[in-house]
Symmetry: C2
Subunit: 243 residues, 2 copies
DNA sequence: GAGTAGACCTATCAATTGATAGGGCACAAG
DNA sequence: CTTGTGCCCTATCAATTGATAGGTCTACTC
Protein backbone atom coordinates (compact mmCIF):
# COMPACT_ATOMS: atom_id res chain seq x y z
CA UNK A 1 0.00 0.00 0.00
CA UNK A 2 2.70 2.44 0.95
CA UNK A 3 4.59 3.19 -2.22
CA UNK A 4 8.26 4.00 -2.00
CA UNK A 5 8.39 6.83 -4.45
CA UNK A 6 10.97 9.02 -2.72
CA UNK A 7 13.27 6.06 -2.72
CA UNK A 8 13.43 5.77 -6.47
CA UNK A 9 14.06 9.46 -6.96
CA UNK A 10 16.81 10.90 -9.10
CA UNK A 11 19.59 10.91 -6.58
CA UNK A 12 21.68 7.80 -6.50
CA UNK A 13 22.49 8.03 -2.83
CA UNK A 14 22.42 4.68 -1.18
CA UNK A 15 19.74 4.26 1.43
CA UNK A 16 22.22 4.06 4.26
CA UNK A 17 23.65 7.42 3.32
CA UNK A 18 20.22 8.96 3.06
CA UNK A 19 19.19 7.59 6.43
CA UNK A 20 22.15 9.38 7.94
CA UNK A 21 21.32 12.57 6.11
CA UNK A 22 17.65 12.65 7.09
CA UNK A 23 18.36 11.53 10.63
CA UNK A 24 20.95 14.26 11.08
CA UNK A 25 18.49 16.88 9.88
CA UNK A 26 15.79 15.61 12.19
CA UNK A 27 18.16 15.36 15.15
CA UNK A 28 19.22 18.94 14.48
CA UNK A 29 15.63 20.11 14.33
CA UNK A 30 14.01 18.19 17.15
CA UNK A 31 16.78 16.55 19.09
CA UNK A 32 17.68 12.89 19.25
CA UNK A 33 15.21 11.74 21.87
CA UNK A 34 12.27 13.53 20.29
CA UNK A 35 12.96 12.04 16.87
CA UNK A 36 11.25 8.72 16.25
CA UNK A 37 12.51 6.03 13.93
CA UNK A 38 9.22 6.29 12.08
CA UNK A 39 9.91 9.94 11.30
CA UNK A 40 13.34 9.10 10.00
CA UNK A 41 11.93 6.32 7.86
CA UNK A 42 9.22 8.59 6.47
CA UNK A 43 11.80 11.22 5.56
CA UNK A 44 13.90 8.61 3.80
CA UNK A 45 10.88 7.08 2.10
CA UNK A 46 10.96 3.59 3.56
CA UNK A 47 9.08 1.73 6.23
CA UNK A 48 10.26 2.00 9.78
CA UNK A 49 11.59 -1.57 10.18
CA UNK A 50 13.69 -1.12 7.07
CA UNK A 51 15.99 1.17 9.01
CA UNK A 52 17.10 -1.80 11.02
CA UNK A 53 18.34 -3.48 7.92
CA UNK A 54 21.05 -0.81 7.69
CA UNK A 55 21.57 0.03 11.35
CA UNK A 56 21.27 -2.27 14.30
CA UNK A 57 19.48 0.34 16.37
CA UNK A 58 18.53 3.99 16.56
CA UNK A 59 21.60 4.60 18.69
CA UNK A 60 23.78 3.19 15.95
CA UNK A 61 22.54 5.88 13.58
CA UNK A 62 23.51 8.57 16.03
CA UNK A 63 26.77 6.78 16.66
CA UNK A 64 27.73 6.98 13.02
CA UNK A 65 26.91 10.67 12.94
CA UNK A 66 28.85 11.37 16.10
CA UNK A 67 31.84 9.64 14.61
CA UNK A 68 31.78 12.03 11.68
CA UNK A 69 31.13 14.96 13.95
CA UNK A 70 33.80 14.37 16.55
CA UNK A 71 36.53 12.16 15.18
CA UNK A 72 37.62 14.47 12.40
CA UNK A 73 38.01 17.58 14.58
CA UNK A 74 39.76 15.49 17.24
CA UNK A 75 42.23 14.23 14.66
CA UNK A 76 42.97 17.70 13.32
CA UNK A 77 43.48 19.05 16.81
CA UNK A 78 45.90 16.24 17.52
CA UNK A 79 47.76 17.07 14.35
CA UNK A 80 47.83 20.72 15.40
CA UNK A 81 49.69 20.25 18.63
CA UNK A 82 52.61 18.80 16.69
CA UNK A 83 52.79 21.84 14.46
CA UNK A 84 54.88 24.92 15.02
CA UNK A 85 53.24 28.28 15.38
CA UNK A 86 51.91 30.51 18.13
CA UNK A 87 48.93 29.35 20.19
CA UNK A 88 46.62 31.85 18.56
CA UNK A 89 47.69 30.74 15.11
CA UNK A 90 47.14 27.11 15.94
CA UNK A 91 43.79 27.86 17.51
CA UNK A 92 42.76 29.80 14.43
CA UNK A 93 43.85 26.91 12.25
CA UNK A 94 41.70 24.59 14.30
CA UNK A 95 38.72 26.91 14.11
CA UNK A 96 39.10 27.06 10.36
CA UNK A 97 39.43 23.32 9.93
CA UNK A 98 36.50 22.68 12.23
CA UNK A 99 34.25 25.16 10.46
CA UNK A 100 35.24 23.84 7.05
CA UNK A 101 34.57 20.29 8.11
CA UNK A 102 31.12 21.20 9.33
CA UNK A 103 30.34 23.22 6.24
CA UNK A 104 31.47 20.58 3.78
CA UNK A 105 29.94 17.65 5.62
CA UNK A 106 26.97 16.12 3.80
CA UNK A 107 25.12 15.78 7.10
CA UNK A 108 23.70 18.51 9.29
CA UNK A 109 25.93 18.16 12.32
CA UNK A 110 24.09 20.77 14.32
CA UNK A 111 22.32 19.35 17.31
CA UNK A 112 24.71 16.49 17.79
CA UNK A 113 26.49 18.33 20.55
CA UNK A 114 23.35 18.83 22.57
CA UNK A 115 23.60 17.45 26.03
CA UNK A 116 20.75 15.04 25.74
CA UNK A 117 22.67 13.20 23.11
CA UNK A 118 25.91 12.59 24.90
CA UNK A 119 24.72 10.71 27.93
CA UNK A 120 24.01 7.09 28.58
CA UNK A 121 25.52 4.84 25.99
CA UNK A 122 27.28 7.71 24.28
CA UNK A 123 29.72 8.39 27.06
CA UNK A 124 32.50 7.37 24.73
CA UNK A 125 31.73 10.32 22.49
CA UNK A 126 31.22 12.60 25.42
CA UNK A 127 34.71 11.74 26.57
CA UNK A 128 36.13 12.42 23.14
CA UNK A 129 34.32 15.72 22.95
CA UNK A 130 35.59 16.70 26.38
CA UNK A 131 39.11 15.87 25.26
CA UNK A 132 38.61 18.09 22.25
CA UNK A 133 37.41 20.91 24.46
CA UNK A 134 40.36 20.47 26.77
CA UNK A 135 42.70 20.81 23.81
CA UNK A 136 41.04 24.05 22.83
CA UNK A 137 41.26 25.32 26.39
CA UNK A 138 44.96 24.53 26.45
CA UNK A 139 45.50 26.59 23.34
CA UNK A 140 43.48 29.45 24.81
CA UNK A 141 45.43 29.31 28.03
CA UNK A 142 48.73 29.41 26.17
CA UNK A 143 47.54 32.31 24.06
CA UNK A 144 46.56 34.22 27.18
CA UNK A 145 49.87 33.50 28.87
CA UNK A 146 51.83 34.66 25.86
CA UNK A 147 49.82 37.85 25.69
CA UNK A 148 48.20 37.07 22.35
CA UNK A 149 44.78 36.87 23.95
CA UNK A 150 43.19 39.10 26.53
CA UNK A 151 42.65 37.69 29.98
CA UNK A 152 39.76 35.28 29.55
CA UNK A 153 38.70 32.13 31.32
CA UNK A 154 39.74 29.30 29.00
CA UNK A 155 36.51 27.48 29.69
CA UNK A 156 34.44 30.49 28.79
CA UNK A 157 36.43 31.10 25.62
CA UNK A 158 36.14 27.45 24.65
CA UNK A 159 32.38 27.49 24.96
CA UNK A 160 31.99 30.68 22.98
CA UNK A 161 34.35 29.45 20.28
CA UNK A 162 32.70 26.07 19.86
CA UNK A 163 29.32 27.72 20.14
CA UNK A 164 30.36 30.25 17.53
CA UNK A 165 31.34 27.48 15.19
CA UNK A 166 27.89 26.01 15.62
CA UNK A 167 26.46 29.45 14.88
CA UNK A 168 28.10 29.19 11.50
CA UNK A 169 26.06 26.11 10.76
CA UNK A 170 22.91 27.68 12.07
CA UNK A 171 23.28 30.57 9.67
CA UNK A 172 24.48 28.74 6.62
CA UNK A 173 22.19 25.81 7.10
CA UNK A 174 23.09 22.18 7.07
CA UNK A 175 23.46 21.93 3.34
CA UNK A 176 26.97 21.67 1.96
CA UNK A 177 28.03 25.15 0.94
CA UNK A 178 29.53 26.00 -2.43
CA UNK A 179 32.65 27.68 -1.02
CA UNK A 180 33.28 26.27 2.42
CA UNK A 181 36.85 27.56 2.56
CA UNK A 182 35.84 31.16 2.21
CA UNK A 183 33.07 30.91 4.79
CA UNK A 184 35.28 28.96 7.16
CA UNK A 185 38.00 31.60 7.03
CA UNK A 186 35.44 34.33 7.64
CA UNK A 187 34.14 32.48 10.67
CA UNK A 188 37.56 31.70 12.07
CA UNK A 189 38.55 35.36 11.65
CA UNK A 190 35.54 36.54 13.63
CA UNK A 191 36.06 33.92 16.31
CA UNK A 192 39.78 34.49 16.67
CA UNK A 193 39.40 38.22 16.78
CA UNK A 194 37.10 37.93 19.79
CA UNK A 195 39.93 37.44 22.22
CA UNK A 196 42.91 38.82 20.32
CA UNK A 197 44.66 41.34 22.54
CA UNK A 198 45.70 43.34 19.48
CA UNK A 199 42.99 42.93 16.83
CA UNK A 200 45.25 44.51 14.24
CA UNK A 201 47.36 41.36 14.30
CA UNK A 202 44.47 39.30 12.95
CA UNK A 203 45.81 39.23 9.39
CA UNK A 204 49.21 38.05 10.53
CA UNK A 205 47.54 35.42 12.66
CA UNK A 206 45.56 34.18 9.70
CA UNK A 207 48.72 33.95 7.60
CA UNK A 208 50.30 31.79 10.27
CA UNK A 209 47.16 29.68 10.56
CA UNK A 210 47.01 29.24 6.83
CA UNK A 211 50.56 27.94 6.78
CA UNK A 212 49.71 25.48 9.52
CA UNK A 213 46.68 24.30 7.59
CA UNK A 214 48.81 23.80 4.51
CA UNK A 215 51.37 21.82 6.44
CA UNK A 216 48.72 19.58 7.95
CA UNK A 217 47.13 19.09 4.57
CA UNK A 218 50.48 18.11 3.05
CA UNK A 219 51.15 15.84 5.99
CA UNK A 220 47.80 14.14 5.72
CA UNK A 221 48.31 13.29 2.04
CA UNK A 222 52.03 12.54 1.74
CA UNK A 223 51.87 10.24 -1.24
CA UNK A 224 48.56 11.06 -2.80
CA UNK A 225 48.47 13.28 -5.82
CA UNK A 226 49.25 16.68 -4.31
CA UNK A 227 46.97 18.53 -6.69
CA UNK A 228 43.63 17.05 -5.74
CA UNK A 229 41.47 18.66 -3.20
CA UNK A 230 41.39 17.19 0.28
CA UNK A 231 37.94 15.72 0.17
CA UNK A 232 38.81 12.52 1.94
CA UNK A 233 35.99 13.12 4.38
CA UNK A 234 33.37 13.42 1.69
CA UNK A 235 32.83 9.71 1.41
CA UNK A 236 31.89 8.78 4.90
CA UNK A 237 32.79 5.16 4.66
CA UNK A 238 33.34 4.23 8.23
CA UNK A 239 35.28 1.21 9.22
CA UNK A 240 34.26 -0.63 12.33
CA UNK A 241 36.12 0.61 15.33
CA UNK A 242 38.26 -2.16 16.67
CA UNK A 243 37.43 -2.88 20.30
CA UNK B 1 6.12 1.15 50.31
CA UNK B 2 7.88 4.08 48.78
CA UNK B 3 8.55 6.46 51.61
CA UNK B 4 8.67 10.15 50.85
CA UNK B 5 11.71 11.04 52.88
CA UNK B 6 13.19 13.71 50.61
CA UNK B 7 9.88 15.45 50.76
CA UNK B 8 10.02 16.11 54.46
CA UNK B 9 13.54 17.48 54.35
CA UNK B 10 14.60 20.73 55.93
CA UNK B 11 13.91 23.06 53.07
CA UNK B 12 10.52 24.64 53.16
CA UNK B 13 10.24 24.92 49.42
CA UNK B 14 6.79 24.08 48.29
CA UNK B 15 6.56 21.03 46.13
CA UNK B 16 5.59 22.99 43.10
CA UNK B 17 8.73 25.05 43.37
CA UNK B 18 10.86 21.96 43.82
CA UNK B 19 9.29 20.28 40.83
CA UNK B 20 10.34 23.23 38.72
CA UNK B 21 13.82 23.18 40.16
CA UNK B 22 14.42 19.47 39.63
CA UNK B 23 12.77 19.48 36.23
CA UNK B 24 14.94 22.37 35.08
CA UNK B 25 18.06 20.54 36.17
CA UNK B 26 17.00 17.36 34.40
CA UNK B 27 15.99 19.23 31.26
CA UNK B 28 19.38 20.94 31.27
CA UNK B 29 21.16 17.61 31.67
CA UNK B 30 19.20 15.34 29.37
CA UNK B 31 16.90 17.50 27.37
CA UNK B 32 13.14 17.81 27.66
CA UNK B 33 12.12 14.82 25.56
CA UNK B 34 14.57 12.45 27.20
CA UNK B 35 13.42 13.38 30.69
CA UNK B 36 10.55 11.29 31.99
CA UNK B 37 8.00 12.42 34.50
CA UNK B 38 9.07 9.51 36.66
CA UNK B 39 12.60 10.88 36.81
CA UNK B 40 11.34 14.28 37.82
CA UNK B 41 9.14 12.76 40.48
CA UNK B 42 12.01 10.69 41.83
CA UNK B 43 14.24 13.75 42.04
CA UNK B 44 11.55 15.63 43.90
CA UNK B 45 10.79 12.69 46.14
CA UNK B 46 7.21 12.01 45.23
CA UNK B 47 5.37 9.48 43.11
CA UNK B 48 4.98 10.18 39.42
CA UNK B 49 1.23 10.85 39.38
CA UNK B 50 1.68 13.42 42.12
CA UNK B 51 3.27 15.75 39.62
CA UNK B 52 -0.08 16.08 37.91
CA UNK B 53 -1.56 17.45 41.06
CA UNK B 54 0.60 20.54 40.59
CA UNK B 55 0.88 20.69 36.82
CA UNK B 56 -1.68 19.62 34.28
CA UNK B 57 0.91 18.00 32.08
CA UNK B 58 4.62 17.62 31.48
CA UNK B 59 4.43 20.41 28.93
CA UNK B 60 3.02 22.71 31.57
CA UNK B 61 6.14 22.25 33.65
CA UNK B 62 8.30 23.27 30.73
CA UNK B 63 5.93 26.09 29.98
CA UNK B 64 6.38 27.57 33.42
CA UNK B 65 10.15 27.36 33.06
CA UNK B 66 10.12 28.92 29.61
CA UNK B 67 8.10 31.78 30.97
CA UNK B 68 10.79 32.50 33.53
CA UNK B 69 13.50 32.03 30.96
CA UNK B 70 12.13 34.17 28.17
CA UNK B 71 9.67 36.69 29.50
CA UNK B 72 12.08 38.50 31.78
CA UNK B 73 14.79 39.05 29.14
CA UNK B 74 12.15 40.07 26.62
CA UNK B 75 10.80 42.65 29.04
CA UNK B 76 14.22 44.09 29.77
CA UNK B 77 15.03 44.31 26.08
CA UNK B 78 11.77 46.13 25.49
CA UNK B 79 12.66 48.54 28.27
CA UNK B 80 16.08 49.03 26.72
CA UNK B 81 14.90 50.32 23.37
CA UNK B 82 13.22 53.22 25.13
CA UNK B 83 16.44 54.19 26.88
CA UNK B 84 19.00 56.63 25.62
CA UNK B 85 22.51 55.48 24.98
CA UNK B 86 24.60 54.15 22.13
CA UNK B 87 23.73 50.74 20.62
CA UNK B 88 26.79 49.12 22.14
CA UNK B 89 25.94 50.47 25.56
CA UNK B 90 22.38 49.28 25.34
CA UNK B 91 23.49 45.89 24.09
CA UNK B 92 25.95 45.61 26.95
CA UNK B 93 23.21 46.54 29.38
CA UNK B 94 21.05 43.78 27.95
CA UNK B 95 23.86 41.26 28.17
CA UNK B 96 24.42 42.19 31.79
CA UNK B 97 20.75 42.00 32.70
CA UNK B 98 20.34 38.71 30.90
CA UNK B 99 23.37 37.16 32.55
CA UNK B 100 22.32 38.39 35.96
CA UNK B 101 18.84 37.06 35.51
CA UNK B 102 20.18 33.65 34.62
CA UNK B 103 22.67 33.64 37.45
CA UNK B 104 20.18 34.67 40.10
CA UNK B 105 17.37 32.45 38.90
CA UNK B 106 16.60 29.56 41.25
CA UNK B 107 16.19 27.24 38.27
CA UNK B 108 18.80 25.97 35.89
CA UNK B 109 17.71 27.66 32.72
CA UNK B 110 20.34 25.98 30.60
CA UNK B 111 18.90 23.60 28.08
CA UNK B 112 15.63 25.40 27.73
CA UNK B 113 16.78 27.05 24.54
CA UNK B 114 17.55 23.77 22.85
CA UNK B 115 15.75 23.31 19.61
CA UNK B 116 13.92 20.17 20.59
CA UNK B 117 12.12 22.15 23.22
CA UNK B 118 10.74 24.96 21.16
CA UNK B 119 8.75 23.07 18.59
CA UNK B 120 5.25 21.71 18.56
CA UNK B 121 3.11 23.21 21.24
CA UNK B 122 5.80 25.63 22.29
CA UNK B 123 5.70 27.73 19.18
CA UNK B 124 4.52 30.62 21.28
CA UNK B 125 7.81 30.64 23.15
CA UNK B 126 9.79 30.08 20.00
CA UNK B 127 8.19 33.21 18.57
CA UNK B 128 9.02 35.19 21.68
CA UNK B 129 12.58 33.96 21.61
CA UNK B 130 12.91 34.88 17.95
CA UNK B 131 11.64 38.33 18.77
CA UNK B 132 14.25 38.61 21.47
CA UNK B 133 16.94 37.57 19.02
CA UNK B 134 15.73 40.05 16.47
CA UNK B 135 16.03 42.81 19.03
CA UNK B 136 19.60 41.82 19.75
CA UNK B 137 20.36 41.74 16.04
CA UNK B 138 18.94 45.21 15.65
CA UNK B 139 21.24 46.51 18.34
CA UNK B 140 24.20 44.77 16.72
CA UNK B 141 23.32 46.18 13.33
CA UNK B 142 23.10 49.71 14.74
CA UNK B 143 26.39 49.29 16.53
CA UNK B 144 28.05 48.17 13.29
CA UNK B 145 26.55 51.06 11.36
CA UNK B 146 27.72 53.59 13.90
CA UNK B 147 31.21 52.13 13.85
CA UNK B 148 31.13 50.94 17.45
CA UNK B 149 31.32 47.31 16.32
CA UNK B 150 33.47 45.75 13.66
CA UNK B 151 31.76 44.48 10.55
CA UNK B 152 29.96 41.35 11.67
CA UNK B 153 26.85 39.59 10.51
CA UNK B 154 24.18 40.50 13.07
CA UNK B 155 22.88 36.96 13.04
CA UNK B 156 26.30 35.53 13.76
CA UNK B 157 26.93 38.02 16.53
CA UNK B 158 23.54 37.31 18.03
CA UNK B 159 24.18 33.58 18.18
CA UNK B 160 27.61 33.97 19.71
CA UNK B 161 26.34 36.48 22.26
CA UNK B 162 23.36 34.42 23.36
CA UNK B 163 25.53 31.32 23.27
CA UNK B 164 28.13 33.10 25.32
CA UNK B 165 25.55 33.98 27.92
CA UNK B 166 24.65 30.32 28.13
CA UNK B 167 28.33 29.54 28.53
CA UNK B 168 28.24 31.61 31.68
CA UNK B 169 25.64 29.26 33.10
CA UNK B 170 27.56 26.22 31.97
CA UNK B 171 30.62 27.37 33.85
CA UNK B 172 28.98 28.68 36.98
CA UNK B 173 26.43 25.92 37.21
CA UNK B 174 22.75 26.29 37.65
CA UNK B 175 22.91 27.15 41.30
CA UNK B 176 22.23 30.73 42.28
CA UNK B 177 25.55 32.46 42.67
CA UNK B 178 26.56 34.53 45.66
CA UNK B 179 27.50 37.63 43.64
CA UNK B 180 25.58 37.53 40.39
CA UNK B 181 26.23 41.21 39.64
CA UNK B 182 29.97 40.82 39.57
CA UNK B 183 29.90 37.70 37.40
CA UNK B 184 27.31 39.22 35.11
CA UNK B 185 29.45 42.31 34.53
CA UNK B 186 32.46 40.14 33.84
CA UNK B 187 30.52 38.14 31.30
CA UNK B 188 28.99 41.16 29.62
CA UNK B 189 32.45 42.75 29.38
CA UNK B 190 33.87 39.72 27.63
CA UNK B 191 30.91 39.43 25.32
CA UNK B 192 30.76 43.10 24.42
CA UNK B 193 34.46 43.30 23.82
CA UNK B 194 34.19 40.57 21.18
CA UNK B 195 32.94 42.91 18.53
CA UNK B 196 34.01 46.31 19.84
CA UNK B 197 35.89 48.10 17.08
CA UNK B 198 38.04 49.87 19.68
CA UNK B 199 38.42 47.54 22.65
CA UNK B 200 39.92 50.37 24.69
CA UNK B 201 36.45 51.93 24.82
CA UNK B 202 35.12 48.99 26.83
CA UNK B 203 35.26 50.80 30.16
CA UNK B 204 33.38 53.77 28.79
CA UNK B 205 30.84 51.41 27.29
CA UNK B 206 30.33 49.72 30.62
CA UNK B 207 29.80 53.05 32.34
CA UNK B 208 27.10 53.87 29.83
CA UNK B 209 25.55 50.44 30.24
CA UNK B 210 25.60 50.76 34.00
CA UNK B 211 23.71 54.04 33.82
CA UNK B 212 21.12 52.44 31.57
CA UNK B 213 20.74 49.57 34.00
CA UNK B 214 20.25 52.01 36.86
CA UNK B 215 17.63 53.93 34.93
CA UNK B 216 15.74 50.76 34.08
CA UNK B 217 15.92 49.62 37.67
CA UNK B 218 14.57 52.94 38.92
CA UNK B 219 11.87 52.84 36.28
CA UNK B 220 10.82 49.34 37.21
CA UNK B 221 10.38 50.21 40.88
CA UNK B 222 9.05 53.75 40.88
CA UNK B 223 7.13 53.59 44.14
CA UNK B 224 8.62 50.59 45.90
CA UNK B 225 11.17 51.16 48.60
CA UNK B 226 14.19 52.20 46.56
CA UNK B 227 16.65 50.49 48.86
CA UNK B 228 15.58 46.89 48.45
CA UNK B 229 17.23 44.67 45.91
CA UNK B 230 15.33 43.89 42.74
CA UNK B 231 14.44 40.32 43.51
CA UNK B 232 10.95 40.50 42.16
CA UNK B 233 11.65 37.43 40.05
CA UNK B 234 12.63 35.28 43.02
CA UNK B 235 9.11 34.30 43.81
CA UNK B 236 7.98 32.69 40.61
CA UNK B 237 4.31 33.00 41.18
CA UNK B 238 2.93 32.97 37.72
CA UNK B 239 -0.49 34.24 36.91
CA UNK B 240 -2.41 32.54 34.19
CA UNK B 241 -1.81 34.21 30.88
CA UNK B 242 -5.04 35.72 29.68
CA UNK B 243 -6.01 34.33 26.27
C1' DG C 1 -16.39 15.33 66.49
C1' DA C 2 -18.11 15.97 61.71
C1' DG C 3 -17.02 17.96 57.57
C1' DT C 4 -14.00 19.60 54.07
C1' DA C 5 -10.14 20.60 51.18
C1' DG C 6 -5.56 19.82 49.85
C1' DA C 7 -1.71 16.76 48.94
C1' DC C 8 -0.04 12.38 48.04
C1' DC C 9 -0.56 7.51 47.25
C1' DT C 10 -1.61 2.85 44.53
C1' DA C 11 -3.36 0.78 40.55
C1' DT C 12 -4.09 1.12 35.95
C1' DC C 13 -4.73 2.60 31.07
C1' DA C 14 -4.00 3.86 26.17
C1' DA C 15 -0.74 5.41 23.09
C1' DT C 16 3.73 5.49 21.45
C1' DT C 17 8.26 3.64 20.71
C1' DG C 18 12.23 0.80 19.38
C1' DA C 19 12.85 -3.56 17.77
C1' DT C 20 11.88 -8.55 15.89
C1' DA C 21 9.99 -12.28 12.77
C1' DG C 22 9.08 -13.79 8.64
C1' DG C 23 7.53 -13.29 3.76
C1' DG C 24 7.88 -11.29 -1.09
C1' DC C 25 10.46 -9.57 -4.92
C1' DA C 26 14.24 -8.26 -7.97
C1' DC C 27 18.48 -9.66 -9.68
C1' DA C 28 22.84 -12.03 -10.42
C1' DA C 29 25.42 -16.53 -10.51
C1' DG C 30 25.66 -21.20 -11.58
C1' DC D 1 15.39 -22.96 -14.11
C1' DT D 2 17.22 -22.99 -9.54
C1' DT D 3 19.53 -21.01 -5.96
C1' DG D 4 20.91 -17.49 -3.12
C1' DT D 5 21.36 -12.87 -1.53
C1' DG D 6 20.25 -8.19 -0.65
C1' DC D 7 16.58 -5.02 0.25
C1' DC D 8 12.22 -3.88 1.66
C1' DC D 9 7.62 -4.97 3.23
C1' DT D 10 3.62 -6.33 6.65
C1' DA D 11 2.40 -7.81 11.10
C1' DT D 12 3.41 -7.76 15.65
C1' DC D 13 5.59 -7.44 20.27
C1' DA D 14 7.29 -5.83 24.83
C1' DA D 15 8.59 -1.93 27.21
C1' DT D 16 8.04 2.70 28.27
C1' DT D 17 5.55 6.94 28.79
C1' DG D 18 2.22 10.54 29.93
C1' DA D 19 -1.91 10.69 32.10
C1' DT D 20 -6.41 9.21 34.81
C1' DA D 21 -9.34 7.23 38.63
C1' DG D 22 -10.12 6.64 43.03
C1' DG D 23 -8.64 5.93 47.80
C1' DT D 24 -6.07 7.52 52.17
C1' DC D 25 -4.07 10.60 55.32
C1' DT D 26 -3.56 15.21 57.45
C1' DA D 27 -4.84 19.65 58.94
C1' DC D 28 -7.93 23.06 59.53
C1' DT D 29 -12.86 24.92 60.41
C1' DC D 30 -17.11 25.16 62.52
Amino acid sequence: MAAREPNRSAEQLETRHRILREAATLFADKGYAATTTREIAAAVGVQQPSLFHHFGSKQEILDSLLRVSIEVPAATLKALVRQEGSPAERLMAHLFLDARHILSCPYNLLGLHADDVLLGDFGRWRAKLDELHRGIRRLVRSAVQEGEFVAVEPEFAQWTLTGGTLAVIRIHGGAPRPRPDRTAWQASRLLTRMYLARPETLDACQRGASEIVDRIRAEATPEDSPADKPKAKEKVKEKEVAP
